[in-house]
């Protein structure tokens, strides 16, 4: 049934939301993959552990002092700067980050986000997610449209503990691109081979069909 996008293609689609001159924070997990698709853009990546201006994830030559917030070694670009965690979150909370892309577990129609605690596993970690969700000028969530056993993750109300209220601006899943405006989901794009009805049937919350709905261009 699920003929949706791979994680790489979700990341590719997310990268199209980024434009020259933007300062961007990429969350741990799927959002990290977005950095594979921005080589042609003049974008500055911020990592909440205190780096502005990092590049690709490095597979070898591990340097313990040059890591992103996921603990992965990263390339330090010539324009990079470093700062402590209070300054880093001042930057985030103070509204200086143009776009943040985070992973999600559940999103509600009003833009509530749950992405830090999995009750089934009895735990989780907040990390920087709550501050980033509150502080970024625009918040994009990338996630699988449904759980592994096919249950919707875009809900009337989040069932998991919240990360932040009414913070999500755009959801990009393996099946669709959905905007949230004034507590209302708007279906903008469907993945290649996925119908509007399929998306609606796998989404719990009510959704408006965008007036210019189209297939994702990847």
């Amino acid at each position: 049934m699920n003929q949706g996008l791979s994680r790489e293609l979700i990341a590719l689609r997310a990268s199209k939301e980024l434009h020259d001159g933007m300062y961007v924070n990429l969350g741990i997990g799927l959002p990290t993959l977005v950095s594979n698709f921005i080589d042609d853009l003049d974008i500055t990546l911020q990592s909440e552990n205190g780096i502005l201006g990092y590049g690709n994830i490095l597979e070898k030559d591990f340097d313990p002092d040059f890591i992103n917030a996921g603990g992965q070694p990263v390339e330090i670009l010539p324009e990079a700067s470093f700062f402590n965690s209070a300054e880093s979150f001042a930057m985030i909370r103070g509204g200086h980050i143009d776009v943040a892309i985070l992973g999600g577990l559940q999103v509600a129609a009003n833009g509530d986000l749950a992405n830090w605690f999995v009750p089934e596993r009895g735990g989780g970690s907040i990390g920087g997610a709550m501050d980033i969700a509150v502080g970024a000028k625009r918040l994009i969530i990338t996630m699988a449209h449904t759980t592994k056993d096919g249950k919707p993750r875009i809900l009337d109300r989040c069932l998991y503990p919240l990360t932040a209220e009414t913070c999500v601006d755009l959801i990009i899943t393996d099946l669709a691109v959905i905007e949230i405006v004034d507590n209302q989901l708007i279906l903008l794009e469907t993945a290649p081979g996925i119908t509007v009805d399929e998306v609606l049937s796998l989404t719990e919350a009510d959704m408006i069909i965008g007036t210019s709905i189209r297939e994702m261009s990847l």
Partner: protein, 230 residues
């Protein structure tokens, strides 16, 4: 206070007692005071409150759980939702043997800064409408809700820097300022592990990150490379 310089990490931490609260700088591999943590592990001091951004597989901090030296952890990243293996901490947490206070990372950093800066509390929008808001005062200003968060201090801070001069002025390398720079201001006794101690005057004044005023005890150690495992 004049900084004291020690020849090994065991001596550097000799002032730490059981029942102490200790801040540990570092963010995963960057700026972790691993030599000081290992000395603490070897010392066997019990019933500690550990204040650190993260505790997990590959952290030296998780070693302190081997002999249950930690009674409480205050952290932002303690239990990974993904990953098959569990850290010592996570196993003890699920058995109810160790307490955990989980804090958003920006609030964690700001509380520590406030603790060092004589700020009695601050208003943050982070955590409003979440479990983080439980038992906290909500203050509304300019049509926006904020949580009143209180300062965080500790008896000791263990930090790691790149270089120090003999008066305790510190510089960090890359992304290792993280919590080290703010924890250095927020504990009664600050113990710094550095890769190299140089003469006064060798560090450029414009380049100093942590002035020596904040440092009490100093030790030069070969850095221990740590890396998260899953």
């Amino acid at each position: 206070m004049v900084v004291e310089i020690f020849s090994n990490s065991k001596q550097a931490i000799s002032v730490v007692n059981s029942n102490s609260s200790i801040m540990f700088g570092g963010f995963v591999s960057a700026g972790s005071p691993s030599n000081l943590i290992i000395a603490l592990h070897n010392d066997g001091i019990q019933n500690l409150t550990a204040i650190a951004n993260n505790i997990g597989l590959g952290d030296k901090l998780d070693m302190l759980c081997e002999h249950k030296q930690i009674a409480k952890v205050i952290a932002t990243f303690a239990i990974r939702a993904s990953g098959d293996r569990k850290s010592n901490f996570e196993e003890q947490y699920h058995r109810g043997e160790v307490e955990l206070e989980l804090i958003p990372q920006g609030t964690f950093a700001e509380r520590i800064r406030a603790g060092g800066a004589g700020i009695g509390g601050f208003l943050t929008p982070t955590g409003v409408g979440t479990v983080v808001a439980e038992n906290k005062e909500v203050i509304r200003h300019n049509e926006k809700d904020y949580l009143l968060e209180l300062p965080l201090r500790a008896d000791f801070a263990f930090i790691k820097a790149y270089k120090a001069d003999k008066l305790g002025n510190l510089i960090y390398r890359g992304a290792s300022k993280n919590f080290n720079e703010i924890m250095a201001t927020a504990a009664d006794c600050v113990i710094a592990e550095v890769e190299e101690i140089v003469e006064v005057g060798e560090l450029e004044p414009d380049r100093i990150d942590t002035p020596g005023i904040f440092i009490d005890r100093l030790v030069q150690c070969k850095p221990i490379e740590i890396r998260w495992t899953s």
